[in-house]
Symmetry: C2
Subunit: 231 residues, 2 copies
DNA sequence: TTTCGCAAGTGTAAAATTTACACTAAGTTT
DNA sequence: AAACTTAGTGTAAATTTTACACTTGCGAAA
């Protein structure tokens, strides 16, 4: 916790999606309820402090809870139902660290997508544990966090449908199959290999290197690299 | 003003676009600065109260300031730079009705698009005047309201590019020319008449009636009507 | 009553994009 | 040597997008 005044009415929550070349996951935290044995799962999030911007708050909170930094967090909307924090078990936990747990909290939701291998979350602050959860098996989360997560996923897919994002999630050298698997994972459906390749290559965002995969148990694929970003 | 406790940290701002079959306008309010003669222009907006949802707050605030109700307001993002309310003249005015004008306020921004003829804004609450301002000639607004407005316009155009919205802004009977003018107004560019008609008619959202325009000084156009909404 | 101005209304060809679809190639493992 | 696995490749059909110019019917003006 910081020493600055927290703003008791506004929080940020971060939906950090992670891709491991295989599955789509989301960063969750586990926190102990005050009295009981029970634990609570939630998205990383906390109240903002008075002199920081929302974007700044999102980055700080994510860092304080999970140790992750340098992630581009994109705001996608605010949630503010007066009863979004209403569940008994939620309140029970809230009481343990907030002075006025009844007050309604507006939360501003942020979203990011990262390569899992680049980040090793480590729990701190009030988080007992931080971990990557497979998106297909999302458990019940605290407050309205399931809703916040669901809308983040919708937004993420929207960003992918025009086929121009996501390359930054791949290793430095990658195959076209890797990109396709990424798209199939995010969009949740299969894509035609030939059509996909045509489309990706037409975008001119990647170029072939003169290297190939090694040590794979099939025909080795040509490795591609990302072209220099245009600012 | 309501008698309930206002939340001193969170406000809503409403960007209400109005279309008058000709131009795109935005609803602005004018408020007096405390001491001086000067006036301040702004988007309708105010602090939320403690037991209302954000959507509810947006509708309430818009109603209290302008008398408008029954408008579908869509949230599009939150703004929360700590110094978004920093201008001297802004503060000067703020002091006149807020107990703690220094405090940072997060604002949640809402957007709507309406037929101007359906709504007659009337100033109340702290607004001296409420009026429709042509979007092409937007003046300097209070706080970061120019930015909030600009982003709303971007979002509005995004919603129009797939050609499937906006019909609700037209009169009950309308011509294809009306729709085209609407699209040209929102998108801010000219469209090919034949191609536009093809596209609109293919969507099957409108059907021709057996009536035509009267009293126009050119060939009268067939009037169309909106098909029954599908839920 | 003729002429003029104005927006309505209409079709086609070329280009670009999207979609569906099946076999061979080059490695590793057995 | 056979089996397995993913890489890699081309084409035809369908659909969508784009560019483009003249005639029609009304009211207003001459």
């Amino acid at each position: 916790m910081t020493t600055k005044n927290v703003n008791p009415n506004v929080s940020v929550d971060c939906v950090v999606f992670g891709f491991d070349n295989e599955r789509l996951k989301v960063l969750l935290i586990e926190q102990k309820l005050s009295d009981k044995e029970k634990v609570q799962l939630a998205l990383p999030g906390d109240l903002i402090v008075d002199d920081e911007g929302l974007d700044e708050a999102a980055n700080r909170v994510l860092f304080e809870i999970s140790g992750l930094s340098g992630i581009f967090l994109q705001q996608y909307r605010a949630f503010g139902d007066p009863d979004r924090v209403s569940d008994i078990k939620d309140l029970d936990w809230l009481k343990s660290y907030r002075s006025n747990p009844q007050a309604r909290v507006i939360t501003v939701a942020y979203m990011a997508l990262v390569k899992m291998e680049d980040f090793s979350p480590e729990a701190s602050s009030f988080a007992e544990r931080v971990f990557w959860q497979d998106i297909e098996e999302t458990p019940q989360l605290a407050f309205d966090h399931n809703k916040i997560l669901f809308e983040a996923l919708e937004r993420l897919r929207d960003d992918f449908v025009n086929y121009k994002t996501g390359f930054e999630l791949l290793p430095e050298k990658f195959t076209l199959g890797h990109i396709q698997r990424l798209y199939e994972t995010i969009l949740g459906k299969d894509l035609d290999k030939r059509n996909f390749r045509k489309k990706i290559l037409k975008e001119k965002l990647v170029s072939p290197t003169n290297q190939k995969q090694t040590g794979v148990l099939h025909k080795p694929a040509v490795l591609y690299k990302l072209n220099h970003e245009k600012v």
